[in-house]
Structures are given as structure tokens and as C-alpha cells.
């Protein structure tokens, strides 16, 4: 394991490396506060937030229908033997596999692929977030719907109501809070993810960070890092406040 990971702690104290990182870290103080750079930074921050929000919104569009299809709590065919049992099982399994494929590839890999296909810019980041988080939301929605008290929905289904009505009147009243708060939590994760999305060229703060690091500009890097931490903290606070409001 040590050999495979090329474990060489002494590389840290190698003269050349020390000079590079030393110079870079020395440049961290003071952080770059020039108006031109600040304007750039502000734009990148807005772009990061917009990417996270748009990505989560699209993920909701992907995840909610798939979660609705895969959840066992709304299965009519599971209530008893009847026609369509096999087809329903096949559809559910297919949707479950689709969800797994969507979320198994990390968002940044999707971003890298989309950057190759669509060119540099936030569009790739938004799509990458939408795909991965769509997969996660779909899976978790299905699990939340199954873990609550499913008897009201079942009673509705047995009484002949449709699946959608059973969802709205049987399951949502109990689970709406949990679903919403998980979605808000995912948005918070999306902010954190879109911060690094730029490393592969998908726009936002990460792209700025990548450029400053490649040019070994410590001052810029440290102001970006500060904004970065502030943003993550802010997302944390906002999502906590929203979740408390929903609770």
C-alpha cells in the first residue's frame, strides 16, 4: 500500500518543493483585495451559487419522478396478485438501475465529460450536478416514502385511487417536511460541489482558483479561499435556517 501510493514524506521537505510551496504560501498574505480582482471574485461567487441552485432544481426534476416510480410504498402490484406484476417489477428495477448509474459516477467526472462535449462554462457544471444529484434525490425520496407510515397510501390504493392521488393524500402529508429538508441539504452539498467544479473548467470559483494556483499567485488564492469558506459557511447557515422553518 505504501509503495503503491508512493509514500514519500521526505518529498515534502525536498528543496525545490519547499521553495515552491513556501513562495506560494508567503504570497497568501495579504490576500489580494484589488477592485478588479474583487469584481471578478464577486462574479464567480454569484456564478457558483447560481450553478448550485439551477443544478439542484434540475436534479429535482429528474429525481422526483424517478423516486415516484421506484418507491415500493406506492406499488399497486405488491398489494396482491394481479395482472401487471411482472411489468411493474421490471419498470421499477429499471428505474432503480438508472438511478444507480446516475449517482455512481461522481459529479466532477460528469462535469469533465460535459466540458469536453459542450465547452468551458457553467452549463457543464449545472448538467453534472443535475445528473448526479438527480440520482441521489430519486433514491432518497423513494426511501423516505417507504420508511414512513404507508398504511394511508395503501388504504387509498385499495380503495381504488390512482398512484398520484395516493402519493398526494396518503404519503406527502407525513413526509413533506423530510423530503424538503433533504432537498435543502442537497442544495448545500451542491454549493460545496460547485465550488470545486471549476477545477475541470465548469465555471465558478473553482475555475478562478485553478487559474491562480497554476500561476502560483498566492494573494489571489488566499482571497478565493476566504470567499470559499465564507460561502460554505453561509450555505450551511441558510440551509439550517430553511430546514428549521420547514420543521
Amino acid at each position: 500500500m505504501l509503495a503503491l501510493s508512493e509514500f514519500r514524506p521526505w518529498a515534502l521537505f525536498d528543496g525545490g518543493n519547499l521553495a515552491v510551496i513556501g513562495g506560494f504560501l508567503a504570497g497568501f498574505f495579504p490576500p489580494d483585495g484589488s477592485p478588479a480582482f474583487m469584481a471578478l471574485l464577486f462574479k464567480a461567487t454569484l456564478e457558483t451559487l447560481a450553478m448550485a441552485t439551477a443544478g439542484t432544481a434540475l436534479a429535482l426534476l429528474i429525481g422526483a419522478p424517478l423516486g415516484f416510480v421506484t418507491t415500493r410504498a406506492l406499488s399497486i402490484s405488491r398489494i396482491g396478485p394481479g395482472p401487471g406484476r411482472v411489468q411493474a417489477g421490471v419498470v421499477r428495477q429499471a428505474a432503480r438501475w438508472l438511478l444507480m448509474v446516475l449517482r455512481a459516477i461522481p459529479e466532477i467526472v460528469w462535469a469533465l465529460l460535459f466540458v469536453r462535449a459542450l465547452g468551458l462554462g457553467p452549463a457543464s457544471g449545472v448538467l453534472a450536478l443535475a445528473i448526479t444529484y438527480g440520482g441521489m434525490l430519486g433514491k432518497v425520496y423513494a426511501e423516505i416514502l417507504e420508511s414512513t407510515d404507508t398504511r394511508p397510501a395503501r388504504a387509498l390504493l385499495e380503495g381504488g385511487s390512482g398512484r398520484f392521488a395516493a402519493l398526494c393524500y396518503g404519503l406527502l402529508p407525513n413526509t413533506a417536511q423530510e423530503l424538503a429538508s433533504y432537498t435543502v441539504y442537497r442544495w448545500e452539498c451542491a454549493v460545496r460541489a460547485s465550488v470545486v467544479m471549476g477545477f475541470v473548467g465548469a465555471g465558478g470559483l473553482g475555475q478562478l482558483m485553478d487559474q491562480s494556483m497554476k500561476m502560483l499567485n498566492g494573494g489571489e488564492a488566499s482571497s478565493i479561499l476566504l470567499v470559499f469558506l465564507a460561502l460554505v459557511l453561509l450555505a450551511d447557515l441558510l440551509s439550517n435556517a430553511l430546514r428549521r422553518l420547514l420543521a
Binding site: L4, S5, F7, A11, F24, L46, A50, A57, V195
Partner: protein, 269 residues
Amino acid sequence: MTTNTAPLPPRPPPCWRCRIALLLIGVSVIASFVYLGIDYRALGSAESLRLMGKFIAEFFPPDVSPDFLARVGHGALQTLAVSALGTVLAALAGAVLALPASGRAGWLPRHAARFALNFLRSVPELVWAALMVLAAGIGPFAGALALSLHTTGVLGRLFAEALENAPREPEHALTLSGAGPVAAFSYASLPIVLPQWVAYTLYRWEMNIRMAAVLGFVGGGGLGQLLYFHLSIFQQQQAMTVLIAMFALVVAVDLASARLRKGLGPAYA
């Protein structure tokens, strides 16, 4: 039947705060799409769909020559090694930092340790990796260091919380009967928290395997570096093989951990 004339309970007042929050969320979603100004029609146009199709077709068939498979296998092993080394280092450092962070050494060390842990945790792995590449040179060691820095923050906090929640009486009893602080800790508190610490570490290892696969994008070795390299020189077929390997690795880890958790569940609950 007596007629019940009691009036119905009043209708609950409308939740203005919820409505305002919903409205704000709606507005910010729309504003995001407008601000990003992505041309979605262009994305769906025949021209770009054709280009997309061509791009996707280039990925097939994946390169399965024995030579390349051996390299991918090495990359996958390297990813596993990076994640394991990063997690082990993080568990050690996390345990060391968790002792002051759980408030055993007084107020100042506690807050200092907590601040360090929070800082380590709030910088994402990829940013640490980009910094570590500068400090340790491109390669898997930088990736392992980056993982261990971020994971130290996470594990340290979880370890400290486990320590705080553990009962203090056994340690007090040993101390009162004359044991030194080290002996008292190792024979009284450590056995209580160790199963939890191990469970947290395994869980983080699982997440780190996933993360190690992408750390290569900034030069952290493993599968990510292979993927980035082959995509950069437009060798899509090789990239596809790496993607399949990544997918297989993640799914395998998912399944293994689900099975392990089912087996270990009650012990760590």
C-alpha cells in the same frame, strides 16, 4: 344524539413565512437560470445533438487490450491505496486532535483543536489536493495527503463527539484508585469509544475511495489521473475503459459496505 354546537376550531392562520420562503426560492431558481444564461435551445438543437452523438460514439468500443487493462488495474489499486493511506493517517491525526477537542485538556486547547478541525474540514479535498501537489509534487502521495487533511477534520470531530458522549465514570474510578492518566484513558474510555471510532473510520474510507478516484484530476494519482490524461489527448476509448473501472469500483464499494453494514449493524448501532 345530542347536537354538538361547539364551533369548529378556527382555521389555522396562513403560514406567511413559509409562503415568503417558497416565493424566494422560486425567484432565486429563476434568477439562477437567467443569470447563467445557458442557451438550452442550442443544447437541444439538431446540430449539437449530432455533435453530442458523435462525441459519445467516439467512446466506443472501450479499449480492452491487455496492456491497457493492466494500467487501469494498477490505477485502481493505486486509488485504493491512496484512500486507505489517507484514511489511516487521518484516523491517527483525528484521534490525536480529538483528545483536546473533547475538552479533556481545558478550555483553550479545546477551542484551538476545534478551530483546527473545522478549518481542515471546510476546505474540500480537491482544493487540498491542488495545494498538496505544489507541496509534494504530482503523484498519489499528494492525493493521500489531501484526503488525510480533509478526513482528519471530519474524523476528529466525530471522534471528539464520541468521547464526549462516553460515560466518564470508569475513567474516574481508575484515576481515583491511583492509575495514571494514560492508563486510565486506555483501559477505561478507549474500549468504550473504539468500536464507534472504527465504524466511523470505515465509513469515511468508503467515501474516500470515491473521492480518491477523482483526486487525479488535479494531479493526485490513481484512476482520475488516467482519465484526465486520456481525455486531454482525445483518447476517448481509453477514457471509457477508465470510466467503466471507476463505475465498477464505486458500485463494488457500495455493495460491499451495504453487506458489511447489514452484518455489523447491531454491533455499531
